[in-house]
Amino acid sequence: MLKIENLTYTYPNGTTALENINTEIQKTHIFAIMGSSGSGKTTMLNCIGKFLKPDTGSILINGKNIYNIEERVLREKIGIVFQQLYLFPHLTVLENIILAPMKVLKQDREKAKKEAVKTLEKLGINELKNSYPSQISGGQAQRVAIARALILKPSYLLLDEPTSALDVNTTGEFGKWLVNLKEETTFVIVTHDVPFASEIATSGVLMANGKIECAGNIKDILKTLNIKT
């Protein structure tokens, strides 16, 4: 279980981005962090991913603070796919995926390749394995980035605005892939796309002005939203 306690984060310029956040993310869920732009959702994701250090509060994985977990071990527990994906342009799709297993998990090349092909097949993009990132579409790149993170078998995989570069059709299809993969990891999705979140997530939080406005079951959150609008 991923637990966030009393999380507060202030930007260097003094603006408070997160204020006293408390929430729990259960395993084998798809958890959605929703909210409009500037509500603090990406900041929260970066705190969970240990890319930003909060002022106060703690993030616990199975009761252990992420700042007390060895970097390498932490990266196997929490994966992240950035909004811009950041695929490595000098490597093929396959090489992008096997780099971490080879260098971090010290797998030999053949084993890493086998695993990578399995993951690529699951995501339906095996035929792209020898392509370079510049040669594939945005939706395909999205899946490659997810495959690259999934290959390390993280307990939690954080996705920052995964649908921002996708059109309506691919968004729907992408949602289906995620639901199929939810046995493999717990997805924590940051999105402002409420229909998409309501389609695939089971629980989540709705954020506004750096605070959690409501949390819990996705349907309850939707109800709150409907009352508001």
Binding site: F82, Y86, F88
Partner: protein, 479 residues
């Protein structure tokens, strides 16, 4: 595979470098080291067999015999020949240097070993118009750079427009091209070279002044000076100089224009090949070491503004803001001041290494800047260590971006090696000039050398273009 090759290359280079550095710093005792240009026939020049010969060379040989020391000749550019003596790169200059009050302040001259004088030469077709030097007021007159004639003209005939040249051959070219109305040089040298070069030039008027040629040594080296003077006196008494005069200025040598005019083809090829080998050697080593130094420098320059950053930042700016030639002199003549004696080739390699590293580190730095910071984050998110992110993610991308401009620096550096002739390194341009001083065919030999450079630089430039195209196709650089 690449790493293995790189390791082999580095090992090879270290071996070569250490051998170069050790060999050149060893032998010192019992030698008599002298400098001359090797481009001043009939006093010192390269024979058709490619050997240094001439009146000066024979004089030097005889003196070293009298001194009972082994003669070592360091061919040096005239512009830096006195500086080299002052910094003890050699014991003496036996290169037809005239005694002047200015020079005598800095060096000690021996007794004169021959006497000549300044002569004005003009084109045959002007012999009715120009009879004496005053006829050339407001006209253009050529002199060799750093020779005494320039000073004489400025002082005594200030209205003459003086044009300075690196060699007599260049002066001849401009006489032909009507860019000059006359030139001033040593009477003996002028007559000899005009004959050998089949030039339509003639002396005009009397000797403008007499010049006494002598051998300078450093101020404190009185023991050597005494011994040289003793040797010269003996050579005058025993008829050695009479013989040498006959040999070099007697009717036989000057009247036979064929003798010494041509250099044998195999000698020319050998000289060019040797010169080019030195050029390539110096360029290759300097580029290799420059590159090795430039990577950590590039990383530091792309990082936080630490103490080291500021040191590198300012030294790079200084190096890139000062002409390479000045840097070469600074290293070559400056190192002995702090107790380090460097052979010319060592000084050349050190200077070019530092210089190329300054340029290349800027390229490497901008290569790093071209890589999106997100690449770093992505690597970190996958659990790669900082070093792994650098090695597998950042470096391969930045290096590819840097490669085309790096290749351009390599091409520029290869061409810059021409400058090292100024500190007595026998690279290809210097060899070419010595060939031209005998063959009087500058266009042909400069063309050949130009082509030699081009053969090496052209594929490099093509490669850079191809790489650049490749990089664009792969979308390496981020907006």
């Amino acid at each position: 595979m690449y790493r293995k090759m790189l390791r082999i290359i580095v090992a090879l280079m270290v071996t070569i470098m250490s051998s170069v550095f050790i060999n050149l710093s060893a032998e010192e005792n019992a030698t008599f080291t002298i400098a001359l240009t090797g481009k001043y026939p009939p006093f010192n020049f390269y024979s058709n067999k490619g050997k240094l010969v001439g009146f000066d060379v024979d004089t030097a040989k005889k003196i070293s015999k009298h001194l009972n020391r082994k003669l070592v000749i360091v061919p040096t550019e005239w512009d830096s020949i006195v500086a080299g003596l002052l910094f003890k790169k050699y014991d003496a200059i036996i290169g037809s240097m005239a005694i002047t009050p200015e020079r005598a302040k800095k060096v000690n001259f021996s007794i004169p070993y021959y006497i000549s004088g300044a002569q004005l030469f003009i084109h045959k077709r002007n012999k009715e118009k120009i009879k004496k030097i005053t006829d050339l007021y407001e006209k253009r007159v050529g002199v060799g750079l750093g020779e005494t004639y320039e000073h004489y003209l400025r002082k005594n005939h200030p209205s003459i427009k003086i044009v300075t040249y690196k060699s007599t051959v260049d002066i001849f070219m401009d006489m032909h091209n009507n860019r000059l109305d006359g030139f001033l040089t040593d009477r003996l040298v002028g007559l000899y070279q005009i004959k050998k070069g089949h030039m339509p030039f003639i002396p005009a008027g009397q000797l403008l002044y007499e010049e006494k040629m002598a051998i300078p040594v450093t101020i404190n080296n009185t023991e050597l000076l005494t011994n040289i003077n003793k040797a010269l006196k003996r050579m005058k008494e025993d008829g050695t100089f009479t013989k040498l005069h006959k040999k070099w200025f007697g009717s036989a040598s000057v009247s036979d224009p064929k003798a010494g005019r041509d250099m044998r083809t195999e000698v020319i090829i050998k000289k060019l090949a040797q010169g080019f080998a030195i050029t390539l050697f110096v360029a290759f080593i300097s580029i290799l070491f420059g590159f090795i130094l430039s990577v950590p420098s590039g990383i530091i320059l792309n990082g936080k503004k630490t103490f080291l950053y500021h040191i590198l930042r300012s030294s790079n700016d200084i190096i890139r803001g000062i002409p390479l030639l000045i840097q070469l002199f600074f290293v070559y003549f400056g190192a002995p001041q702090i107790g380090i004696t460097l052979a010319p080739i060592q000084a050349a390699i050190i200077t070019l290494t530092i210089n190329s590293s300054a340029y290349m580190s800027e390229v490497i730095r901008s290569g790093f800047m071209a890589v999106d910071h997100g690449q770093n984050l992505a690597g970190k998110a996958l659990g790669l260590t900082k070093l792994q992110v650098f090695r597998h993610v950042i470096w391969p991308q930045s290096f590819r971006v840097s490669l085309p401009p790096l290749v351009n620096s390599v091409v520029a550096l290869m061409k810059d090696t021409a400058l090292i002739a100024m500190i007595s390194v026998g690279e290809v341009i210097r060899e070419t000039q010595s060939i031209i001083s005998v063959t009087y065919n500058p266009i042909k030999y400069y063309f050949i050398v130009g082509a030699m450079f081009f053969i090496f630089t052209f594929p490099l430039m093509k490669m850079a273009n191809k790489l650049e195209k490749n990089i664009k196709e792969r979308g390496f650089t981020h907006a």
